[in-house]
């Protein structure tokens, strides 16, 4: 990826999605898009795969459920069995509620923690916004000027069909990750 980027601003989600679809169809490299809200259809336009976070959720939930069932069995039937109202020490039905709660707890926390890790979100992180308005009412498409054939004028004409507000070129500082 080259360190030269082209930023195109839009004021509507529809324009952004259509522009994204079109530039990708013409073979340009979309680095990312910045939007004030979750734009439906943008993931498809950018060719994103379904997130694998669902697996994290499933695995954490399974660990919670199985771990808790084992723990309940171990405390009630192995470590110190206590007779409660003549019930069997290892009573699976009465172990289920707490096991369910632990499954939900671990699945929820595991998924959110994984989200923060994969999106590199942490307290106090300085947000790197292409424009400050992207969290308010602006939509920004970032294209990579991948090679010498990238002609800004052509791209600008193309984007003009989608009511682009502004096109701006930026060069990433050395060592930048975007």
């Amino acid at each position: 990826m080259s360190d030269r980027m082209l930023l195109a601003s839009f004021d509507s989600a529809e324009d952004l999605v259509e522009a994204t679809t079109e530039v990708r169809r013409q073979g340009y490299q979309v680095v990312d898009a910045y939007t004030p809200y979750a734009v439906h259809g943008l993931d498809r336009a950018m060719g994103m795969k379904p997130s694998r976070l669902t697996w994290v959720c499933f695995i954490c939930g399974a660990i919670g459920a199985i771990g808790m069932l084992w723990f309940e069995h171990w405390t009630a039937a192995v470590s110190w069995p206590i007779d409660v109202g003549g019930k069997p020490f290892n009573a699976l039905p009465s172990d289920l509620p707490a096991a369910f709660e632990l499954a939900v707890l671990l699945a929820g926390f595991g998924t959110v923690f994984a989200l923060l890790v994969v999106c590199r979100l942490y307290p106090g992180k300085r947000a790197r916004l292409p424009r400050p308005e992207v969290t308010d009412d602006r939509f920004v498409l970032v294209l990579n000027e991948a090679d010498a054939t990238f002609d800004i004028a052509t791209v600008e004409t193309l984007l003009n069909q989608f009511n682009v507000l502004e096109v701006e070129e930026r060069v990433l500082p050395a060592g930048g990750n975007r």
Binding site: D32, I82, F100, E101, L102, C119, A127
Partner: protein
């Protein structure tokens, strides 16, 4: 050429009616307007009305704190409990507050799964309500332990007493797990939904503590499509987790009663009955709060009459389920042929606490029937009055279930009466104080409407509505 122009101008009938349908958010707001409208109440100085409300709420909280300090210092003899009625006021309040919380999860998670787009205007404050209600609820079992400083004994941790483990066969312990999980997952769900809005506040370009805090807590959110894509996935997963969770929580609360052998408690209808009742009372509380908030914070374009009407319909359906449960209980008691069971219900309706039972049936079954009428659902004053009555009725429902079942049990020699003491009443008032203090602070410091979610549904039209309705609302 002219034929092409003609076809261009022809709008199909369906689209034409769609154009006339009103949007969920009225007033033709732009994306920037949404940010401004919702941030405005936080960025201007607190109004006199807010201060007045805060003063009342914090005074009530102070009264509650005093009462709790007193009862912990002196002992649980300060309550009106006796050997027969061992559970009364605290447990009533606990079940009441947990129930209040459930509507928040219904609106934020269940309606999200059902793709009900109108939820975006109310979900943030409903979720906040859930958190505060669960905090209020969890205080009561803590006080009820008598020695709240030993509350950590309810968690299974390696200890020097054996280790002696907690009893996993007890529904009271399931409650510990259910309520803790419910609080934590609700808090995480709320925070994850709040991230984009915190970033919006951060980027408003204002100096001050709010921006600095938003910078820390927005975790560097940048609105990247990749982050949004994952965020949506996680939000959906959390909604999928919260939905069975909310049903499990009140099911487990109902099992505190249903697994005992007390007539009036020992019934299989309790889990669905309690869940419906919880959502019913919670919706009433959401409506109470929303009607005040939309007026005070000028959010009428976001929380429209349509939103209130939708919640009224939900509340009516829940109210009917609750009414059906009341009837079922009586029918099963009569049908069981069990004299103790039959007595418990006759005593409930016609015994010394019949006034409480009458309040409950009037507020929960009769009053909500008014919501069948459209004009009642669309009138703020009537909806507000009904929501308050339902809150009262649902509090009495828990009181009726708990106290009337206990006070006359199998042996007439042990029958007793229960009257709450001033300390218990002060604690209840204090819990309302805590709830409203938290809610008022939330209204001042956090966007009460999920901006990023409302922005996504700005152009969404209602499924069906007449032109007359929209004109009525514009007027």
């Amino acid at each position: 050429m002219s034929s092409t122009t003609a076809t261009d101008c022809q709008v199909p009938m369906e689209d034409a009616s769609a154009l006339l349908r009103p949007t969920l958010v009225t007033g033709n707001r732009s994306l920037g307007d949404v940010t401004r409208d919702i941030c405005a109440p936080m960025e201007r100085k607190a109004t006199k009305l807010w201060w007045a409300a805060f003063l009342v709420a914090s005074s009530a909280l102070l009264l509650g704190l005093t009462a709790v300090t007193y009862q912990i210092t002196v002992g649980i003899g300060t309550w009106g409990l006796n050997r027969t009625v061992g559970w009364a006021f605290d447990i009533t309040n606990f079940v009441f507050w947990v129930g209040i919380g459930h509507a928040g999860t219904l609106i934020s998670a269940v309606l999200f799964l059902f793709r009900q787009k109108w939820r975006t205007s109310v979900n943030r404050s409903a979720e906040a309500m859930t958190l505060f209600a669960v905090i209020c609820a969890s205080i009561f079992p803590l006080i009820h332990m008598g020695r709240p400083w030993l509350a950590f004994w309810t968690f299974p941790y390696p200890n020097t007493r054996g280790p002696l483990w907690v009893n996993f066969k007890s529904p009271l312990l399931w409650d510990v797990f259910a309520i803790s999980t419910y609080f934590l997952i609700s808090a995480v769900f709320w925070y994850v939904g709040l991230l984009p809005d915190l970033a919006t506040i951060r980027d408003r370009g204002r100096a001050g503590l709010r921006t600095r805090l938003a910078r820390i807590f927005s975790l560097g959110w940048d609105g990247s499509a990749r982050t949004w894509h994952r965020h949506e996935t996680v939000y959906l997963l959390l909604a999928g987790l919260a939905t069975p969770l909310v049903f499990s929580v009140h099911t487990i609360v109902s099992m505190d009663f249903a697994t005992s052998v007390i007539p009036g408690w020992h019934t299989t209808v309790f889990p669905p009955y309690f869940v419906a009742g919880a959502i019913f009372s919670g919706l009433a509380m959401v409506l109470t709060l929303m009607i005040i908030a939309r007026k005070v914070m000028q959010l009428e374009h976001y929380i429209t009459i349509f939103h209130i009407e939708m919640m009224c319909k939900l509340m009516l359906s829940m109210g009917c389920i609750v009414g059906l449960a009341y009837g079922t209980e009586f029918f099963i008691a009569a049908y069981s042929g069990n004299p103790y069971e039959q007595f418990a219900f006759m005593n409930r309706a016609f015994g010394p606490y019949s006034w409480a039972y009458l309040t409950m049936v009037t507020c929960n079954v009769l009053v909500p029937q008014l919501l069948w009428f459209r004009w009642v659902r669309r009138n703020i004053v009537t909806v507000f009055a009904i929501s308050i009555l339902i809150n009262i009725g649902m509090w009495f429902e828990r009181f009726v279930i708990i106290v009337t079942s206990l006070h006359r049990d199998f042996l007439p020699s042990s029958w007793a009466h229960y009257i709450p003491t001033s300390i218990e009443i002060a604690t209840l008032i204090g819990s309302f104080g805590l709830f409203f203090t938290c809610f008022l602070l939330f209204c001042r410091f956090i966007p009460v409407i999920a901006m990023a979610e409302v922005k996504g549904v700005l152009k969404v039209k209602r499924r069906k509505s007449s032109v007359a309705v929209s004109q009525e609302e514009v007027a």
